[in-house]
Structure formats: structure tokens, C-alpha cells
């Protein structure tokens, strides 16, 4: 016999189910209960940097939009600083959550473009936003990252993107700039399946 390791086990995940909106975004689901909804404003009114909008859809293995998904985003400010890790602008939370339109599955978030953040090594990572999504049928929340198409040089040197062996799959993480809007479609399964991370 050996001594027993006394670590606890992480609570196992369960799907957020079809009604996640009443719990985490009740106002957006047409249900007025809280004085203030959390996660509606990622950057706040005083954030420095370029204001951007990101639009997209999450789709399933059949290519159909997932209309009941809930997405959370986490990002640094334009100077590459995460809240809690240094001084950021008052009101800059760096975190937000969004649900799509129930009819079309289209979602959009407004924020500022994040700056570069130091990676594990000496270099900087390319600007990116961390995404985490849950829905009915997703047993454990899925983590991915959004990178920006107009940061090609930085993307080419990004240590995380370079971990992806199949170079064409790196493109699944790059939001395409079209005018003032970035397009970021997430495919859970099948053709052009998005790269998801075990973080």
C-alpha cells in the first residue's frame, strides 16, 4: 500500500442545456430580472485603441447554425494588459458574453482590438481573444482563440498557431476583416472544423 493522495477531483462538467440564456443572459433572452446584466460591455467607454466589431455564427456538423449557443470572450486591452495583471482603463473588464439571434444564429460583439501579450517563452503572442462556448449538446465547454486577418506577420510567429500541425487548420482561428467588421465563424464539426484547445 502507499499513502493516499488527497487531491480533490474537479467537479465534472455537464451541458449548459437549451435554457442557458435565462441563467447567464436573462435580459438578452427577454426576461427582465436583474438590475444589470453581466458581460454586455467588454471594453467599457474609456478603453484606448481601435474599436472593432466581430460577427459570426457557430455551426454544427450538418452546417446548421447553433442558435442556442452562449459565448464568452476574454481579452487584454490595446496595450496587451489583462485586467488583474496590471493597470487597465477604468471600466475595461476584458470579459463579455453574447448569445446569437434566436432566428438566425448570428452574434456580434463590440470591443477594442487587443494588444500583444507575452507568451510562455520570450516572444509576444499575436493579438487574440480567448473564446469559450457552451450549448445544448456540448458536454464540456469548448475553448478556442480568435486571431485577426490583418495581423499576418504576428500570426505567422504566434507560438500557439504554430502548434497546429496542419497549416490550413490555422485559418479556422483567423477572423477575416471586411471593412470595419471582422467575421469569425466557428464550426464545431466537419468541413473546416475549428481548432479547439485543451487549455
Amino acid at each position: 500500500m502507499v499513502q493516499k493522495l488527497d487531491y480533490r477531483k474537479e467537479t465534472p462538467s455537464q451541458t449548459a442545456g437549451p435554457y442557458v440564456h435565462i441563467g447567464l443572459a436573462p435580459g438578452d433572452a427577454g426576461f427582465d430580472i436583474y438590475r444589470q446584466e453581466l458581460g454586455r460591455d467588454i471594453a467599457g467607454p474609456r478603453a484606448q485603441g481601435e474599436r472593432i466589431e466581430i460577427q459570426g455564427q457557430v455551426s454544427d456538423g450538418a452546417g446548421a447554425p447553433i442558435k442556442d449557443v452562449l459565448i464568452e470572450a476574454w481579452q487584454a486591452n490595446a496595450a496587451g494588459i489583462y485586467p488583474g495583471c496590471g493597470d487597465v482603463e477604468p471600466g475595461f473588464r476584458g470579459w463579455g458574453r453574447v448569445i446569437p439571434d434566436f432566428e438566425t444564429g448570428e452574434w456580434s460583439i463590440s470591443t477594442v482590438k487587443p494588444g500583444r501579450v507575452k507568451g510562455r517563452g520570450p516572444g509576444l503572442m499575436a493579438p487574440h481573444i480567448s473564446f469559450w462556448m457552451v450549448a445544448r449538446g456540448i458536454n464540456v465547454g469548448l475553448n478556442t482563440r480568435l486571431y485577426f486577418s490583418d495581423e499576418a506577420e504576428a500570426n505567422k510567429a504566434d507560438p500557439i498557431l504554430n502548434l497546429i500541425e496542419q497549416a490550413d487548420r490555422r485559418d479556422t482561428l483567423v477572423a477575416r476583416r471586411d471593412g470595419d467588421v471582422y467575421r469569425f465563424d466557428i464550426r464545431l464539426q466537419g468541413d473546416k472544423e475549428t481548432v479547439f484547445f485543451d487549455v
Binding site: 487531491y7 480533490r8 477531483k9 474537479e10 467537479t11 465534472p12 462538467s13 455537464q14 451541458t15 449548459a16 437549451p18 435554457y19 442557458v20 435565462i22 441563467g23 447567464l24 433572452a29 426576461f31 430580472i33 436583474y34 453581466l38 454544427d60 456538423g61 450538418a62 447553433i66 442556442d68 476574454w74 487584454a76 489583462y82 485586467p83 488583474g84 495583471c85 496590471g86 470579459w95 434566436f102 501579450v117 507568451g119 510562455r120 520570450p122 503572442m125 487574440h128 480567448s130 469559450w132 445544448r136 449538446g137 456540448i138 458536454n139 464540456v140 465547454g141 469548448l142 475553448n143 500557439i160 464545431l188 464539426q189 472544423e193 475549428t194 481548432v195 484547445f197 485543451d198 487549455v199
Partner: protein
């Protein structure tokens, strides 16, 4: 800013896999490719924080936070517990959010068309911050079981959805808690996405007679464990490496 310590790796044999045939919706919503394992960076180890200005005192009282003409119908319960990490260390000041069906098994959601009645005095969601010891507390009514379209005769055990943060975004967790003694737990295809019975048992809240309000509310205790941080006594990756 030095990087916060890494987290213990998530035990993917303890969590449900993405593809679980008997929970049918997962079939087309599960990635076919393997997840790409990352050594955490600041992007995963940092995370949002919340404070008392984000949450109102009544937000954790589901008996009162949507009441219009009186109390909601159903069995009054206290739901309480602690948020800890895998090292057994309390997780203070973290946001805990819950949502649930009413006593008849109906959600206040426009997509829920189950014939059980909406309760005009019950909203079905609440939120709170853990205190300095990692403790949280809600007052609510016990949700009812309800049918759902998986097989034609599928019934969800009574459950409450729970969302928790922790200091690192990579600790983010959503789960469901069940109630001690419910015979539907063993039959549920969503519960049974979890391969290990010990992990399922970790989702069953225990009747806690010590925490009741006598002659008023019964109580259940549900502890939540988030991923733990590694110790940093020996730095194996010095600066510049």
C-alpha cells in the same frame, strides 16, 4: 507581471467526452478532431473578476427575486456549499450563477413549451459571490423533473444548472447538480455522459439537515471543485528559457 502558476491538467476521463451517442444532440455538436493541448499562457491563467457592485443582495434568493404577488409554489430549499480547488483551498469572491425549472418542471424561457404551468412568482435564476471562505448560499424552490426529446420517454432528474468562474479563465466550469435519492439520476442520458460513477456521485447534492431553517426550508449541500494551481517551489522554466 510574472505569470501565475499553471493549473493541474484537466482529467478528461472524469469529464464526459464530447461525443456521447445516447445524448443525441452531442452527435452533431462534438468536434471530431482531438483537442490541441496547450501549455497555459497568461491568456488562460488570467480571468475576469467580479465584485459586490455586480450583484444585488436579493440575486441569490430565488423565492423573492422575481416574486410578484407572493411566494412561488414548491418545496422551499436552501442550497449551499463551498467552491474549492483541487488542493482543497477555498475560492473566495468568485461568481456563482444558477438557473433551473420551477416546481412543475417548466423553465421561464420562450423555447420551453412543456405543458406544466409557468409560476408567476418564480424566475428561476440567481447569482452570488463566494465569501472569503469560498462559501455560497441560495434560497430557492426544488425544481421538478420534466420530459425532454431525446428518446420519446426521456425524463430529466430534478436539477439546477451551476456556472462558476475561479481566478483563471481556464477554470471556467458549467455543470448540473442533482438531488440525493432521485431515481431518475441513474436513467438520464445527460448524467450518463459521465463515464465514472464516482464523478456522477460528485454531482449529487446531499440532504443537509444541519443547514435547514426549521419549520421553513429544507437544505442541500453542494461543494464545487475547480482545477487547482501547481505549486511554484521549483521553477522549471526560468525567464528566457
Amino acid at each position: 507581471m510574472t505569470q501565475p502558476p499553471d493549473l493541474y491538467q484537466r482529467d478528461r476521463d472524469w469529464h464526459p467526452p464530447a461525443y456521447t451517442q445516447n445524448y443525441k444532440t452531442s452527435v452533431s455538436r462534438s468536434p471530431k478532431n482531438a483537442l490541441l493541448s496547450l501549455e497555459s499562457t497568461l491568456s488562460e491563467l488570467s480571468g475576469p473578476t467580479f465584485g459586490h457592485s455586480d450583484v444585488d443582495p436579493l440575486d441569490n434568493d430565488l423565492i423573492r427575486n422575481y416574486a410578484k404577488t407572493g411566494d412561488p409554489i414548491g418545496e422551499r430549499i436552501i442550497l449551499h456549499g463551498r467552491v474549492l480547488d483541487e488542493n482543497g483551498k477555498p475560492v473566495p469572491n468568485t461568481l456563482v450563477e444558477i438557473w433551473q425549472a420551477n416546481a412543475g418542471g417548466r423553465y421561464r424561457h420562450k423555447k420551453d413549451t412543456y405543458l406544466a404551468a409557468i409560476d408567476p412568482n418564480f424566475g428561476g435564476c440567481g447569482r452570488t459571490l463566494t465569501d472569503e471562505h469560498g462559501c455560497y448560499r441560495f434560497r430557492t424552490i426544488k425544481p421538478g423533473a420534466y420530459p425532454w426529446r431525446n428518446w420519446i420517454n426521456s425524463w430529466r432528474p430534478a436539477h439546477i444548472h451551476v456556472s462558476v468562474f475561479g481566478p483563471s479563465f481556464a477554470q471556467r466550469l458549467i455543470t448540473q447538480l442533482y438531488f440525493e435519492g432521485d431515481p431518475l439520476i441513474a436513467k438520464c442520458p445527460i448524467v450518463n455522459t459521465i463515464p465514472d460513477q464516482r464523478a456522477i456521485d460528485q454531482l449529487v447534492a446531499a440532504l443537509d439537515l444541519n443547514a435547514t431553517v426549521p419549520l421553513d426550508s429544507i437544505a442541500y449541500k453542494f461543494d464545487i471543485v475547480l482545477r487547482g494551481h501547481r505549486s511554484t517551489y521549483f521553477e522549471n522554466r526560468p525567464e528566457g528559457n
